[in-house]
Symmetry: none
Subunit: 256 residues, 2 copies
């Protein structure tokens, strides 16, 4: 990430808004406007359907052009969240994911605490057509689900972005965060976490752990889930690498 | 008002949404969707620019057709609020009006109290171009103003409707559960967790992982810490046992 980007993000400190396969430029533009309404400016696009930049985003952004100009495009969700420490998945359908489910309001408190502790945070939003997929949700530490009319709960994409951004802003208007996690080392980035996952899964592949091939994806997802939930520190990811190395090397390694 | 309308309104009890001189059918459609997302269905239109019904509202309503079909058109604001007891004006610019100014959240509490007392309530929203005029605001008992980025506070019309409707809905949900673990299996007992810790640590002992003896206690504590934080499920502890077994057995185990 360029130095200017880093300075800018550190200034606002608010969540990055990560749109995965957004379809309509109009929704991207309206999401940009909603973000800037709430003081957010770090938009990230993963495989936008109609490419980027998209002229049809401009008018709905209604002046929030700075957000569109600074938007970054990524090939995959993993890359889009690589520099973040804590990620939320905005979805109405958590589908068998064992993750904490927060309302936007509690999610905003959670974000404020994380940011106060030095973390960089972001929120994933799925496409208009199908929402977030489980593979995207595996990058998340928690789900954000908006309590809505159960009989008609599908939000427009830009409306979903607005509610999350709005609650973020409101949480900052009132009292300051009460709790700052007393961590000795910074939270692991998603890239560090992904590095560990790849390492662990390839070790498990070598050992035949995933011996029923069709079950591999769900097993991988389940394993990533609980490591995600632990809100791992940088140092702890190193320890986990050490554990895998040690176990794989085995009793005959004679390190003592 | 027709008898059926009255029954319907009494059922939901939520605020009427009154759009004054709305310009774009798209915004009317998106507002209808946002309303129904939050359980509201009483939309009133005062002199919509492009007439009514407006076909360009249909697609953005995304299924909230019942709101569009039931929408009523009025020639003036006074008529549109005639049957209401308490009216709020959503505006960023109260312009010399001596009225209480509420956030959407406090406004929602206020509405809930009024409705609980038998009142019928509604919220006025101005046109995209110029917002509410003072003549409209004179019909209001209070102003609703959204705390937003002072440098960029102009909300899209449908976004403003969403925030008011959202806060109305949240005020009725009551306090939110912090954490809804959507887990298929129960949380692991501490005994199951301890069983895994002992297993892992003895495997690590065999591998010489704790080769500096005096550091062993703190390393054990750190490792237990992050597994504790993950709030592991029973099934996940079994998976972790499987991971350790598999890694220790190693690549030559030939399970495949």
């Amino acid at each position: 990430m360029a130095g200017t980007d880093r300075r800018r993000d550190m200034k606002t400190g608010g969540p990055a808004v990560i749109l995965i396969e957004p379809q309509l430029g109009e929704n991207i533009g309206m999401a940009a406007r909603a973000m800037l309404n709430c003081g957010l400016d770090d938009m990230r696009l993963v495989r936008p359907r109609d490419g980027w930049p998209n002229p049809s985003a401009t008018s709905p952004a209604s002046g929030a052009t700075i957000v569109l100009e600074r938007a970054r495009v990524f090939e995959c969700t993993a890359d889009a969240v690589a520099d973040l420490n804590r990620v939320y998945a905005a979805t109405a359908r958590p589908r068998d994911m064992t993750l904490p489910v927060l309302t936007p309001r509690r999610g905003a408190d959670d974000m404020r605490q994380a940011v106060a502790g030095g973390a960089r945070v972001g929120v994933l939003f799925g496409s208009e057509r199908s929402g977030l997929q489980n593979d995207d949700i595996t990058h998340a530490d928690a789900v954000i689900q908006v309590p809505l009319n159960a009989a008609f709960h599908s939000l427009n994409l830009s409306q979903a972005v607005l509610l999350v951004a709005y609650e973020w802003f409101q949480a900052g208007v009132g009292c300051q965060p009460a709790y700052i996690p007393n961590s000795r080392t910074p939270a692991a980035t998603k890239a560090e976490l992904m590095g560990f996952f790849n390492r662990l899964e390839s070790a498990l592949d070598s050992c035949g752990f995933f011996h029923v091939a069709e079950k591999r994806p769900i097993m991988v997802r389940n394993i990533r889930n609980f490591f995600q939930r632990a809100d791992l520190r940088e140092q702890e990811v190193k320890t986990l690498h050490g554990i895998v190395t040690s176990l794989v090397r085995g009793p005959d390694s004679g390190r003592i």
